[in-house]
Symmetry: C2
Subunit: 459 residues, 2 copies
């Protein structure tokens, strides 16, 4: 008897990143999808035989219909952006070329103080998801305020996200004290646990903003609900000095002393680490979100990503917020991270293209505890797929598909994107909402913000 | 009496980069074009009054017609790519993640040995020009073989280029000895001197490949014909050691001792310089082509670009060849250079966005001796213009146009491009040749090259 599929997608290159199968790339390959799940992947002829679906009747749902001429150029797993603050798209380019302290105190914080609220979060998250989906990102890992309001926008646009309930030691609009932060967090986690597209996480902001009590309670809550822990770690040299001053230890040593470093933790940045700290991250199975462009733009430093990789740390890629990047483009991060680490490590063979594609897909998913569900084109995983065009001057000729993905491909090469088997981007356009409306709302917010902004721009 | 114009282009932002006028940005601005030259630029109302052209009858030539709804988003000067080897697009991604020596000796040189010739150069130059024009580059500075054959392709596509007659101390297909190199060079210069779009230059390859005699003769020839000198300089640490071994001096000191460093010189890379060398470059008026992405990818090192800038060196931007980048995208170089230099210099205010736009436009043109002709939107200069869309998620909202150009804009945001007042890209498509044909030829070359290549790719 034949296996069943709703539709089959065919492409010149099917880049699986399937770890258990040795990450095969199938030339003239195909992916069979059934109920939003990958039912099979392999050479086109094998898949057609197994599923009994030829060129005619290739699609029983319409989801895979009319994509190209029946044969796409490249199918690959959706990208995973493992560290961002999605709503900060509304601050994109608001105040560049400034020292971090001035940028935060005179621009970002006053703006957030004035405007943050459910409507801001909803509208900004829509814009961020639109931007990411168009660039082939199907899953992102967020940390900001009012994540419950973000969840609505994410679900409406059909994207996958891990949304972090933030914990800090000082009062904000979210909560007055530690107890209230954890009550809110637990409520948030209960609301979204078990959802298909939204995964709740707990987000103790950073060692310098969330001390021993918050860190320990966050770790316990993550264990209780089996969810990820999302934090900033050793982003700046200042932070290392501050933690040493407060606790007499470097940040990783401090957290390890609390017993909170586990394989649930995804730590963003990790720029300032000594060799002992790298060893601890590897031993505890902590994943790192390497945010190369943000680190460069804020002059934070060069993260030892290639060195961590050699030490066995799972490196993944994050854009950070658009205010410090200034976009949410994982393809761009792939190129920057690969090139930069060759010089940082002094080794042109470091951070090779295939490893970087792995970081942006399967490892990203695994770091978020979603390795069973997304991150590679593997039987049984969700059909979170990106379809890329190659018929462009900057992608011609082609010798190595991984090299093209890392160094030459751009968001504008993304043709179609599906999440859980449902098309979310088709021919470069959003399927689930009106792009013009999202942009119109964003422009309105931009006007409000620039009228209030302390920063008087030259223009 | 009214001033005369063939047509007027209107935009929300006209980014002039006009140095003498203080680089004004006109909101609701306009550019008047007459006989391929910029006849006026300023606020829309002023330009309409001065040229007596209202919305009706705005275009008497068709060149400016049907571009947007009569009002574009952004008009800016065409980008200048000050260092590339355009035909190396055919080697794009052929052999990444390798040490420089292995990459050159086992992959690049054998390929060039086998395939280089007029047809290769023509077809590859077409692809490179297509890629650059679509990304808003209107002028590029090239160094490769058989530049006479490149010139045909450049002119056919309507682009502006400075093409360098290469000089090295050893025999190649181009010439057997120094005398023959200079005869060939003089012949090439004579052929193209005074052309509208093509400017010949002399290109003593690098201090380690072109010794004292070649360097001195090149400087004399440049003076004789009033043309630029294009060279590689201090790209790798190895080069510094080699020049010290051969001549007992560091590369800049060595060249300065020969008396060949003048304001005609555009030196690519300049990664390994000491403070004294930076001072010499500033004093002699040498311009630098900063190739950030190539330097990173080949693990060459971090060029002290922000430091050179502070010392008064004219920094411009180059992509280098696509084999070491892997694209010809100046917008990408702008973002990389700005972000990277903030961390390299430890100063988040370094390489601010406006300075970087200047490097990619006016300074690039001035470095190539074309400052009177292109590089800014100034009355009397050629209408080399890029028109950019802003109606995109990754460009919304907008607070500062320079920040968007440097950190967020992508080649796919380029709508229209004109060179000398003639449209070369319209609605993202080449006007002067068939894109499909150019891509088809490139794919055929790719097949030939990969069959012969020593590199057996995984795929």
């Amino acid at each position: 008897m034949m296996d069943k599929a709703d539709y089959i997608l065919r492409a010149e290159y099917v880049v699986t990143m399937d770890g258990e199968a040795g990450e095969p790339v199938f030339r003239d390959g195909a992916v069979a999808v059934k109920d939003g799940t990958i039912a099979g992947v392999g050479p086109e002829a094998d898949i057609e035989k197994r599923f009994g679906i030829g060129r005619a009747g290739q699609d029983r749902t319409g989801a895979g219909a009319d994509w190209g001429d029946g044969r796409l150029k490249v199918i690959l797993p959706g990208f995973v952006n493992t560290h961002t603050h999605a709503p900060m798209v509304f601050l994109r380019g608001l105040a560049d070329d400034l020292p971090l302290k001035e940028w935060l105190e005179k621009h970002v914080w006053p703006m957030e103080d004035k405007w943050l609220g459910p409507e801001f979060i909803n509208d900004a998250t829509e814009l961020a998801c639109l931007e990411m989906l168009k660039a082939g990102v199907t899953t992102y890992n967020d940390m900001y305020f009012f994540e419950g309001d973000a969840a609505g926008a994410v679900a409406r646009l059909g994207m996958r996200a891990v949304l972090g309930a933030g914990i800090v030691d000082f009062p904000t609009r979210v909560a007055k004290n530690t107890d209230e932060y954890f009550e809110r967090a637990e409520e948030f986690i209960g609301r979204f646990l078990g959802e298909e597209l939204i995964t709740p996480s707990i987000a103790p902001h950073a060692p310098y903003t969330c001390g021993p009590e918050g860190q320990k309670r966050a770790a316990l809550m993550a264990e209780k609900y089996d969810i990820p822990v999302h934090m900033h770690l050793s982003e700046t040299k200042w932070e290392v000095g501050e933690i040493q001053r407060l606790y007499g230890k470097r940040p990783v040593d401090f957290l390890d002393g609390l017993g909170v470093l586990t394989s649930r933790v995804i730590a963003a940045h990790c720029v300032w680490l000594d060799d002992g700290e790298i060893e601890i991250l590897a031993k505890r199975g902590v994943s790192v979100s390497h945010c190369a462009e943000s680190n460069l733009k804020l002059a934070s430093g060069f993260a030892p990503a290639a060195k961590m990789l050699r030490a066995g740390v799972k490196i993944t890629l994050g854009t950070d917020g658009a205010a410090s990047n200034n976009d949410l483009n994982i393809l761009g991060e792939m190129g920057t991270a690969s090139k930069l680490q060759k010089t940082v490590s002094g080794d042109p063979t470091a951070m090779d293209a295939r490893s970087v594609v792995r970081m942006a897909t399967r490892w990203g998913a695994e770091a978020l505890g979603l390795g069973g569900r997304t991150g590679s084109i593997s039987e049984g995983k969700s059909a979170d797929l990106v379809m890329l065009d190659l018929d462009k001057p900057h992608l011609t000729p082609i010798y190595n598909i991984y090299s093209h993905l890392v160094h030459s491909a751009r968001p504008s090469d993304v043709q179609h994107v599906m999440v859980a088997g449902r098309p979310v981007i088709k021919d470069g356009r959003l399927t689930n909402a009106d792009e013009r409306e999202i942009l119109e709302k964003a422009r309105m917010w931009g006007k409000r913000i620039s009228q209030e902004s302390v920063s008087k721009q030259v223009l």
